[in-house]
């Protein structure tokens, strides 16, 4: 367990005795489950007895006291899904993953659970994998879904997916291009900047594909660290007034060739970004 994570979550919710559920939700989201140590810390810091915290943690299905798999598969067994063959689909997943509902595979990849209604009765029998809905499920579709999930449901084929496109950016202050063709990422020239966090100072290469979060850097930037990004040419810090809508960290602005500004969140791991196009003419 990361003690610091729990501590920072508790600090964020400081001062109020209400909000136990939101504290537990944050820990569940960060850790994937509620460990014994985490619950003890929550009880101590919020001045509740452990019994009360444990009662809440075991009452709600959203909380898990056991480590969960990387991917969560929920098979709906609500009335509508049930009569359309939900239990057969659930058995299909159980057979394919060799686990029972409510269990996690040995490699900690999949957790299978059955739920009583997902509110998508018209799509039944429905299964939800990592937030992706699979309507009108058949048992024959189960292996395909598991295979797709292993690769990653959010995986995007860069060459064929039109939602991903390359941008060319330059420094907002000196207007020098930041593109670096010598170090391609995702098959396109990368965006080269200087990054500073803690006492470390080094280069950082970002994918120039809008929608790709692939990066390479001289030093490993810890998740959740807010980095300062500098132009490698004029050495000015790339910083605007805007704050990230996702996490509140400062946004890093860069000029897009053709007109407009792209802003990315300075927090490592945060996917907050914004593309503001102005003055482009399509001819």
């Amino acid at each position: 367990m990361k003690k610091e994570i729990v501590q920072s979550i508790l600090k964020k919710n400081d001062g109020s005795r209400s909000g136990l559920i939101s504290i537990l939700e944050d820990i569940q989201a960060k850790q994937g489950y509620l460990s014994e140590d985490a619950l003890r810390m929550v009880a101590e810091k919020t001045k509740r007895s452990l019994v009360d915290v444990y009662a809440v943690a075991t009452f709600y299905k959203a909380f898990s006291l056991q480590p969960r798999g990387k991917h969560l598969i929920s098979v709906c067994l609500g009335t509508a899904c049930h009569v359309r063959g939900g239990p057969t689909v659930a058995r299909g997943f159980e057979k394919n993953l060799s686990i029972k509902a409510g269990e996690t595979t040995h490699d900690k990849e999949f957790t299978l659970e059955t739920v009583n209604c997902l509110g998508a009765c018209a799509l039944g029998p429905v299964a939800v994998v990592d937030g992706h809905y699979f309507p009108k499920m058949k048992t024959s579709g189960v292996p395909g879904i598991i295979e797709k999930t292993r690769v990653g449901l959010d995986h995007v084929e860069i060459d064929t997916d039109q939602r991903v496109f390359p941008v060319e950016v330059s420094c907002a202050r000196c207007n020098h291009s930041l593109m670096d063709p010598r170090h391609p990422i995702d098959g396109h020239p990368s965006i080269r900047v200087t990054v500073s966090f803690g006492h470390k100072h080094g280069w950082l290469a970002l994918s120039s594909l809008y929608g790709s979060y692939n990066v390479a850097s001289e030093y490993e930037i810890p998740t959740d660290a807010v980095a300062h990004i500098f132009c490698p040419h004029c050495h000015a810090e790339l910083i605007g007034g805007a704050k990230c809508g996702e996490c509140g960290a400062p946004m890093v602005p860069m000029i897009v060739r053709g007109g407009g500004v792209v802003q990315i969140c300075a927090r490592r791991g945060c996917k907050g970004h914004m593309l503001d196009l102005i003055g482009t003419t399509i001819g």
């Binding site: 014994e36 007895s49 019994v51 915290v53 444990y54 009662a55 075991t58």
Partner: protein, 226 residues
């Protein structure tokens, strides 16, 4: 402030904040209780103390231990509807905990002679007496409710000995379900006390000469037979 209400046709004035159960006690009308206990906060879990309030179509059953007195309220503590509900509750309790003497006595007093439901032999009826005892009288909060629905149970967090438990035994002492086994603090009434003592009283026969054991099979006896 005083509140006047009608209990089984009798007019009674009570202090505001009292419960219907207090009112019935004040006038001497018996209402059976199970999860209620003097000194513990009312909980309303067992529903055994149901009474009928209101008249005609608006009449409804409420648990008297949690319902506060209201001006002009009409209460019936022993209407046929109340008795029917109580009998059903007792039958269900008896089915889940047939070994409890408290429940057996209550069922017998209400004229239950046959068992219509399958016996479950649960150890607990989730009345919450022990939870309230631990929190309110022993100031410990070592045990509490866990899970929900069918999986609801009473115990310590993570099923390990709680740091705040002082082994006072209060939870076992007031338990209506395991009472048969747990009256160890009164040796003359004790059956076994095995749950509290590693060495059960029936083994130390010199202290408990008149002891009659109802426990069959008894773990302690089996161990000491050899």
């Amino acid at each position: 402030m005083m509140v006047t209400l009608h209990l089984n046709g009798l007019k009674v004035s009570l202090e505001e904040g009292a419960t219907l159960l207090d009112a019935a006690k004040f006038l001497g009308f018996p209402i059976p209780t199970l999860c209620h206990m003097e000194g513990l906060s009312p909980y309303g879990a067992c529903r055994l103390c149901v009474v009928e309030i209101g008249e005609g179509e608006n009449a409804k059953l409420v648990s008297s231990c949690t319902y506060p007195v209201q001006e002009g309220l009409k209460i019936r503590t022993a209407s046929s509807r109340v008795l029917r509900a109580r009998r059903m509750i007792l039958e269900l309790l008896l089915a889940s905990c047939p070994q409890s003497r408290t429940i057996q006595d209550l069922a017998s007093a209400h004229g239950i002679r046959i068992q219509r439901f399958r016996q479950e032999h649960e150890d607990c009826i989730l009345c919450g007496r022990c939870v309230r005892m631990c929190e309110e009288q022993m100031m410990a909060k070592a045990i509490g409710f866990r899970g929900r629905g069918q999986a609801r149970s009473i115990g310590t967090p993570f099923d390990i000995k709680s740091d705040v438990c002082r082994l006072c035994g209060g939870c076992m002492y007031i338990c209506p379900a395991c009472q048969l086994r747990c009256t160890y603090s009164e040796p003359e009434r004790a059956v076994c006390g095995g749950c509290a003592n590693l060495m059960s009283p029936c083994v130390e026969m010199e202290n408990f000469d008149d002891l009659m054991c109802y426990m069959d099979p008894c773990v302690a006896c089996e161990i000491h037979k050899d």
